[in-house]
């Protein structure tokens, strides 16, 4: 009973779950290794939380088996219930209790520790999570981010063998998000529990997890290590993983590269298209000087001027410093209008650009669509 040399804690075998007509889990098969961090990623509404609730026993599958340490019986499920804690997506804190009582509740009900031991344990955890000063407040009196940390404290307080985290960092600022991710990783290393995390924090979550499961439209799109995930060629998964890049491209009016390439394939039969690549030479140095936001504005200028041109069919972000544009019927080198418009862009008159423009130039190549593989020498469009 192992998964990649590690003991399997939980196994899903052909699990189906539907709510009315909507099929949320559609024949799901995967294994969760023991003592590791497993991350579930996928689009919103793809069934990640439902999957987590199946693991916790809060939902039962319509069909299929969930096997706990090799045993699918009710007894195995019941005994597993004593070993895990769950951090809910909406925190699920008891609103009739204050923060301290919420976190103390599982320990008080368990009745194993004395009041002073519970006090000490909670104080240590509260200090770590920076929530010591809100312990007497009711959950409705604290912010969403604080509620998240209180929920995390409640999940960690019983030192469970398995912790299920449902979007533990949603609603947190970047600093606190890093603290929570680090805390999960640190605690997991220290206590060796099995962590199952549903998260949208790509790529941050990959740095701490050992195993990744991607859920796509109710099916498992991928199950393996983060390194294996990097080399996968599946377009849907790639597009999801590159979603942040996509967002940036969308904001600039650019297509994802895969989509750009597939659209070019549709135009291949025609002889009247050109594909130009515009590259900012000296981009890295410029970024170091002005920071990533200002340097992205430089790419935005290229996108605005070239992909926004009337003769442009579509465009994509080729890499950090360049964009590719497909033009119809004319070669960009003969279009002085475009070059003039670019030179007169207000960004190039801004103090931050004027101060740091040394070594920056915009270079380009332009191929006929039919000769796309032909390597041409780069020409300088504008030198600053």
């Amino acid at each position: 009973m192992s998964s990649g040399g590690t003991e399997t804690l939980i196994e899903f075998r052909n699990v189906y779950k539907a709510f009315g007509e909507k099929r949320v889990l559609d024949g799901v098969d995967f294994k969760i290794p023991s003592g590791k961090i497993t991350a579930f990623i996928g689009k919103s509404g793809s069934g990640k939380s439902v999957l987590l609730k199946h693991i916790a026993g809060l939902m039962t599958p319509d069909r299929g088996e969930i096997i706990y340490q090799g045993d699918s019986t009710e007894k195995a499920r019941s005994s597993f219930k004593n070993k895990f804690s769950y951090m809910f997506q909406n925190n699920a804190l008891l609103d009739s209790m204050n923060v301290y009582d919420n976190v103390a509740l599982p320990l008080v009900e368990e009745g194993r520790l004395s009041k002073s031991e519970i006090d000490e344990k909670i104080s240590n955890l509260f200090k770590l999570l920076d929530i010591l000063d809100i312990k007497t407040q009711y959950t409705s009196q604290i912010s969403g981010g604080m509620q998240k940390r209180v929920a995390l404290a409640r999940a960690l307080i019983t030192d469970p063998e398995v912790i299920l985290f449902d979007e533990p960092t949603t609603g947190l600022d970047p600093l606190r998000k890093n603290v929570v991710i680090n805390l999960i990783s640190e605690y997991q290393l220290k206590f060796g529990f099995t962590a199952v995390i549903v998260s949208h924090d790509i790529p941050d979550i990959f740095y701490i997890c050992d195993h990744v499961v991607i859920l796509n439209e109710g099916k498992i799109g991928f199950s393996g290590s983060p390194l294996e995930l990097e080399s996968i060629e599946n377009e849907t998964i790639k597009s999801f993983l590159n979603s942040q890049e996509h967002l940036l491209s969308d904001l600039m009016g650019l297509l994802p590269c895969l989509e750009f390439d597939s659209r070019l394939k549709l135009l291949e039969s025609s002889d009247s298209y050109y594909v130009s690549t515009f590259r900012v030479d000296g981009f890295e140095r410029f970024r170091e000087k002005v920071g990533s936001i200002a340097s992205e504005k430089l790419i935005n200028v290229l996108a605005r001027n070239f992909s926004g041109n009337q003769s442009a069919v579509n465009a994509c972000r080729a890499n950090d410093s360049s964009i590719r544009v497909c033009f119809e019927n004319r070669d960009v080198k003969v279009n002085d209008k475009i070059i003039d418009a670019l030179k007169n862009d207000s960004f190039f008159q801004s103090p931050s650009f004027l101060k740091n423009r040394e070594g920056v130039s915009i270079k380009y190549t332009s191929n006929k669509l039919a000769d796309l593989n032909q390597e041409l020498a780069e020409k300088t469009l504008v030198k600053f």
């Binding site: 609730k53 916790a56 026993g57 809060l58 219930k81 004593n82 895990f84 804690s85 769950y86 809910f88 909406n90 699920a92 804190l93 008891l94 609103d95 009739s96 509740l105 599982p106 009900e109 368990e110 009745g111 409640r154 019983t158």
Partner: protein, 257 residues
């Protein structure tokens, strides 16, 4: 139509069975697993102490109305001397347990259903389960035990103040002899009348609390999640409890008498 009618009855019987299993499981678990006196005391405060002012007010006016109505009826037969007995027996046997129970349902039962319904809605009940805390013994059991204690006490308060209310109108307002009023109360009310009233109150306490908790606990199952689900569950809990009180009253009266 026959199929639909039969289906409706079957569904009702099935739901009754579910409520019975729910209530008995909650009571059994709270008594056997982790009995918490502090939670029971907290619920006694909510069900008993907080409802007491309303029960006292309603019982006073009920007794006063009874005093006027019964006096005007009895005087036609020259039997106004029996007013004390008539008021006391009516209150102790019937009106006391029934009206007190309906008042408690309106005050505490609705709050039980909505509180537990909101907990279900916000996944707080799921959270209890994941903390290995049995939601039935944690949330429902103490409420049932508290209701078993509070309903008879509130009924006793209702009866006493109601009889006093009857005294105010019958004696102070309409001029009946006070000695005659209290003498009839003392001689006509037996222990079996009082015990019968308490049995009713005890049963109403269990029935209404189980119904209100059940409706809240499964607010999402019957009505769906959200504010509408909770509000529907609360309304349904109050209506079903009130109807149950009257039906159960008839059944218990038939058995006791």
């Amino acid at each position: 139509m026959i199929v639909a009618f039969g289906g409706m009855w079957l569904k009702m019987i099935q739901r009754l069975g579910l409520i019975t299993v729910f209530g008995s499981t909650a009571l059994f678990r709270s008594l056997t697993y982790k009995f918490s006196l502090s939670k029971v005391v907290e619920q006694i405060y909510i069900i008993g102490v907080k409802t007491l002012p309303v029960v006292m007010l309603i019982s006073l006016f009920t007794g006063m109305v009874l005093g006027i109505q019964l006096y005007l009826t009895l005087v036609k037969f020259n039997s106004e001397g029996l007013l004390g007995a008539a008021i006391a027996l009516t209150l102790i046997r019937e009106l006391g347990p029934v009206i007190a129970a309906i008042m408690v349902v309106g005050q505490a039962g609705s709050s039980m259903a909505s509180e537990i319904g909101i907990m279900r809605n916000d996944e707080q009940i799921d959270a209890l389960e994941t903390m290995n805390i049995d939601p039935l013994s944690y949330l429902v059991g103490p409420r049932i035990i508290a209701a078993m204690i509070c309903f008879p006490i509130l009924t006793a308060v209702f009866d006493l103040i109601g009889i006093f209310g009857g005294y105010l109108t019958g004696v102070e307002l309409l001029g009946l002899d006070p000695g005659s009023y209290w003498f009839r109360v003392e001689t006509q009310v037996n222990f079996s009348d009082v015990a019968g009233g308490f049995v009713k109150a005890f049963c109403f306490g269990i029935l209404t609390t189980v119904i209100c908790c059940y409706k809240g606990f499964y607010a999402n199952v019957h009505r769906g999640f959200g504010a509408r689900g909770v509000s529907d569950a609360t309304t349904s809990a109050v209506v079903m409890s009130s109807v149950t009180i009257l039906v159960a009253d008839y059944i218990i009266t038939s058995i006791v008498l």
